[in-house]
């Protein structure tokens, strides 16, 4: 007999309740989360099959709540960003969530394809080209939503051999730009230095994901090898492919190119960029409005020179103390 599942639909933001059959078998999903199959009885013959992510039980449950929040935040932001453009197939899709009760959950559509850990070495040149474009497109969408994935690896990115499409999954470690970086566990081959437990510092930003993403490009290009030194990027043809921009990827996160930079100035393929609004646009507008009010109250108070640095790192783009265009 079906249970009634109450949740918030990600595409509309409206509350819904749908009869659902829940599978008993649970598997790990992301960090401190478990997944089980649910079938929503939506009128189709077999029902709509989704994965229900829930926090683990036990002493990691508190951490599980936070990871589930990460998934829901990223999923909701992507839906808001996509709007009528349509949700990007390059990123795992949140179907709905229940975020307020003691037993919260998130409903995700199943992953497309197999993890690159298993199929990465079988991509031919043509597939690799689609893989590069797909991965960078996924990262552009995430950056547009103001989210860093923070867990890119051959285990969290899938490749659909049939369709030749890539999908970024497991949003459990993701965080919004501006959040304080929290340590990320796992193999150091896939965790950037600024997020490792022994050297974690600073705030999450648009450069965070590029470190692991470029390593993943090499992993696929070299048919399953780990990047040991930067010279291998040239040997694999990646340094040339990206017009020499990859050197900065392995420096401090503040100086890294973004995914959009790699597409525009590395690959020089503007046409594959998704036309999404910059996540910082609203923040910039809001802050400018505040600074106007502040200027009326405290006309002599200067704007700190680093005021915009957290959302507009490229200071050359604006006048000192002001947003792009010199406003404020």
């Amino acid at each position: 007999m079906a249970d009634m599942l109450r949740f918030r639909r990600a595409s509309t933001g409206e509350q819904d309740q749908v009869p659902a059959r829940v599978d008993d078998v649970e598997t790990p999903a992301g960090e401190f989360l478990t997944a089980r199959v649910v079938r929503l009885e939506d009128g189709t013959t077999d029902g709509l099959e989704l994965l229900q992510h829930r926090p683990v039980n036990g002493d990691r449950r508190q951490a599980g709540y936070l990871r589930l929040d990460n998934e829901i935040l990223a999923g909701r932001r992507l839906h808001e960003l996509a709007g009528w453009h349509g949700y990007p197939p390059e990123v795992t899709r949140l179907y709905g969530d229940e975020a307020t009760s003691a037993d919260p959950f998130a409903l995700f559509e199943g992953p497309q394809g197999e993890p690159l850990r298993e199929v990465g070495e079988y991509l031919d040149n043509q597939s690799f080209d689609r893989f590069v474009a797909g991965l960078l497109t996924a990262l552009c969408w995430l950056a547009g939503a103001g989210i860093a994935h923070r867990g890119i690896s051959p285990d969290t990115v899938t490749w659909d051999i049939q369709d030749g499409t890539v999908q970024l999954g497991d949003l459990s470690r993701s965080a919004p730009f501006g959040a304080a970086r929290t340590p990320v566990g796992g193999s150091w081959a896939w965790v950037a230095p600024e997020s490792r437990p022994d050297s974690c510092y600073g705030t999450v930003g648009p450069g965070d994901d590029l470190w692991a993403a470029v390593r993943l490009l090499y992993f696929v290009r070299s048919r399953g090898k780990s990047l040991e030194n930067r010279g291998q990027l040239a040997e694999a043809g990646l340094a040339q492919l990206f017009n020499g921009m990859l050197d900065a990827v392995f420096g401090p996160p503040e100086g890294r190119p973004t995914a959009r930079d790699l597409v525009e100035h590395g690959l020089r393929r503007h046409h594959i960029l998704p036309s999404v609004e910059d996540a910082s646009k609203r923040l910039v507008q809001g802050r400018a409005s505040f600074l106007n009010a502040r200027a009326r109250l405290h006309p002599d108070a200067p704007v700190p020179p680093d005021f915009w640095d957290d959302i507009l790192p490229a200071r050359g783009q604006r006048a000192p103390g002001g947003p792009p265009g010199g406003a404020g």
Partner: protein, 648 residues
């Protein structure tokens, strides 16, 4: 049982602006245990500096760290850690180990006690005794965190050895952890009992309570003169057998006079003279006899204003002392009769935890009201109030703020409760049920009179005005919404937290009643006395998936960078503006200085609407200290060119 059952050696290496710690050698193959200890010690390894020692009592187990090396970019290069049961690897044991203690577990055991004679001699030196006194005073007063300015490594070790020796002689078995050389506060707070840190960023010790300072000076002097004699005297008075700390202090105050007080005129400044005594005279270099003044601090001018009746209280020092006596009727304040022939230590005992009665209470038209005796002793107190609609979460915000006060040390701020009884009541009735019990707290009753919820002595830096009393008031939302009930404290409040529940933002005329009534009073005050405001989007977990709330809720505790406060203020201002909640922005426009914040006192929602319900996800406060830090900066409790920019 061995005192040491695990040895780990760490190495530091520079990473970016900081440094990372890696294990270089261990005495075990149990990698999981080593990893556990590395995680546990990491914040302490990042706080320590060379040359220095750390002893950390975690309850059943303890760790002893020796920091060595170090240079321009690293506070230390190598750190050797001994781990063992805290019953065996005690602080005293660790300090007595040889400087050269190397090798494995068995080698360490063979070195136990090698330095005892040397370190005891150092601990009884005049330099050590002078520094021991404030630490011991804080220990006797059961302070959990004591910070001291940096001293040489040997002197710091001697002070700690002396402290442990005296405490154990009195029968005090409180665990004591220490860092003899620290670069700043540790991010961790997981040690048991007391923690003493000699920190490079602390210019002077927090002055202890004068009475406890006098008692500590007396004990330290006796220890320096004749440790065995002190032990015998304490035993004869039954001090080691005291039932609890309070009983122990009571018995210590019965110590027979050892030296004649220096101030014969009790109307003048009494002093306690420390006499090192003859036995040490032959072994220690002659040093000047330190004289520690124990004067009562004069009241600040101008007069302190009573926060309850707005009356001026002059001659604070001349007022009678009162104490709360629960055995009289349903409990009432009774005057303390202080015999005129008491020495300063005995007088301190009588007045410890005392209150004064506001002189306006003598007016028959006014209800008698009382304030902690120390309330007026640190200049004009800073009064902070919480303003918001009923159910906006003011009480929960206040409780979680006070529960997290210890983390103010991350900002270089020391906090001491002003009145132990008041603080204890608030901890027991609000903080513990919320933080440890995950319970929903009852709101402030609408008919409650305005009372001091809690108050603290806040200190950052040194010099005049570095210590201020900060008093916190909670008032029911219902009271504030009624125009006929104007809370007296609003007329003299230095700062107000305007607390907003996200659910109220979209309600019609939101804030019109509560905020507008309060702002009316603000407008009636002389402009020079306009208070500061911290507008807090409280219960922000309700909107935790919305921008910019998500970003700020996850931004950590941050630091004192004024640009960071301005960014958060700008983003929250814009958020409220987008929601067309212009009434909630008014305090920003009306107050002299203002900041805006997001905060979540609980981290999640309660289960259902039942007042007796709990927070099913547990209580994990987020960003609750930021509004308080901003307020301390805006009201002048914190000073300096950087913090003065906060709120403008």
């Amino acid at each position: 049982m061995n005192a040491v059952d695990l040895v780990i050696t760490f190495r530091a290496r520079a990473v970016g602006d900081g440094f990372a710690v890696a294990v270089t050698a261990t005495s075990t193959r149990d990698n999981q245990r080593v990893a556990t200890w590395q995680r546990r010690l990491d914040p302490w390894l990042h706080a320590g500096a060379a040359p220095g020692l750390g002893y950390l009592d975690f309850g059943t187990e303890a760790a002893f760290i020796r920091f060595e090396g170090g240079g321009k970019n690293l506070p230390w290069l190598s750190a050797r850690v001994l781990v063992g049961p805290s019953s065996e690897l005690t602080g005293g044991y660790a300090l007595e180990l040889s400087d050269e203690a190397g090798g494995g577990v068995s080698r360490v055991a063979a070195q136990a006690g090698q330095r005892r004679q040397l370190i005891e001699q150092r601990a009884r030196s005049a330099d050590a005794v002078a520094r021991l006194t404030p630490v011991l005073a804080h220990a006797l007063r059961e302070e959990r965190r004591v910070t001291m300015p940096p001293v040489g490594p040997q002197l710091a070790e001697a002070v700690m050895w002396g402290l442990l020796a005296v405490l154990r002689m009195t029968g005090d078995t409180t665990p004591v952890s220490f860092l003899t050389s620290a670069t700043g506060a540790s991010r961790s707070d997981d040690t048991a009992g007391m923690l003493v840190s000699f920190r490079a960023d602390v210019p002077a010790p927090l002055p202890p309570d004068p009475g406890f300072a006098a008692l500590a000076a007396d004990l330290a002097g006796r220890f320096a003169a004749d440790p065995a004699g002190l032990r015998a005297t304490l035993a004869s008075l039954g001090v080691p057998g005291a039932a609890d700390a309070r009983d122990r202090v009571s018995r210590l105050l019965t110590l027979p006079p050892r030296a004649k007080p220096g101030g014969a005129d009790r109307g003048g400044t009494p002093t306690v003279t420390i006499n090192p005594g003859d036995p040490l005279a032959s072994t220690l270099p002659p040093t000047p006899t330190p004289t520690i003044p124990v004067a009562r601090v004069a009241p600040a001018e101008p007069a302190v204003m009573c926060p309850m009746c707005l009356g001026d209280i002059r001659d604070w020092d001349s007022l009678d002392f009162w104490r709360w006596d629960p055995t009289v009727g349903d409990g009432e304040y009774v005057r303390i009769d202080i015999p005129s022939d008491l020495n300063p230590v005995q007088r301190a005992r009588f007045t410890h935890g005392a209150y004064i009665r506001c002189p306006a209470s003598s007016d028959v038209t006014k209800v008698a009201h009382y304030l902690p005796a120390r309330y007026g002793q640190f200049g004009p107190p800073v009064l902070l109030g919480f303003v918001g609609l009923t159910q906006s979460g003011k009480t929960h915000l206040l409780a979680s703020m006070i529960g997290e006060l210890g983390r103010l040390s991350e900002f270089g701020i020391d906090v001491t409760e002003l009145d132990r009884a008041t603080h204890h009541d608030f901890l027991e009735n609000s903080v513990k049920p919320l933080i440890a019990g995950n319970k929903v707290l009852p709101g402030t009753p609408d008919d409650a009179t305005t009372t001091l919820t809690d108050a603290f002595i806040i200190r950052r830096g040194t010099g005049p005005g570095s210590e201020r009393v900060v008093a916190l008031f909670d008032v029911s939302g219902g009271d504030l919404a009624r125009r006929d009930t104007t809370k007296e404290f609003l007329w003299i409040a230095n700062g107000l937290f305007f607390v907003i529940d996200p659910d109220h933002i979209k309600a019609s005329k939101v804030g019109d009643d509560t905020f507008s009534n309060v702002l009316d009073i603000m407008g009636s005050r002389p402009s020079a006395q306009r208070p500061s405001a911290a507008i807090v989007l409280n219960k922000a977990d309700k909107v935790r998936f919305e921008e910019p709330v998500a970003r700020w809720l996850r931004a950590g505790n941050g630091d004192l960078d004024p640009a960071e406060f301005l960014r958060e203020s700008a983003d929250v201002y814009a958020y409220l503006e987008q929601q067309q909640a212009t009434a909630l922005i008014k305090p920003y426009l009306a107050c002299a200085k203002a900041t805006l914040h997001v905060a979540s006192p609980t981290g999640g929602a309660q289960e259902g609407e039942d007042k007796a319900s709990r927070y099913p996800r547990g209580v994990t406060p987020q960003r609750v200290l930021r509004p308080l830090v901003a307020m301390l900066a805006m009201t002048g409790v914190l000073t300096g060119p950087q913090v003065e920019q906060i709120g403008v």
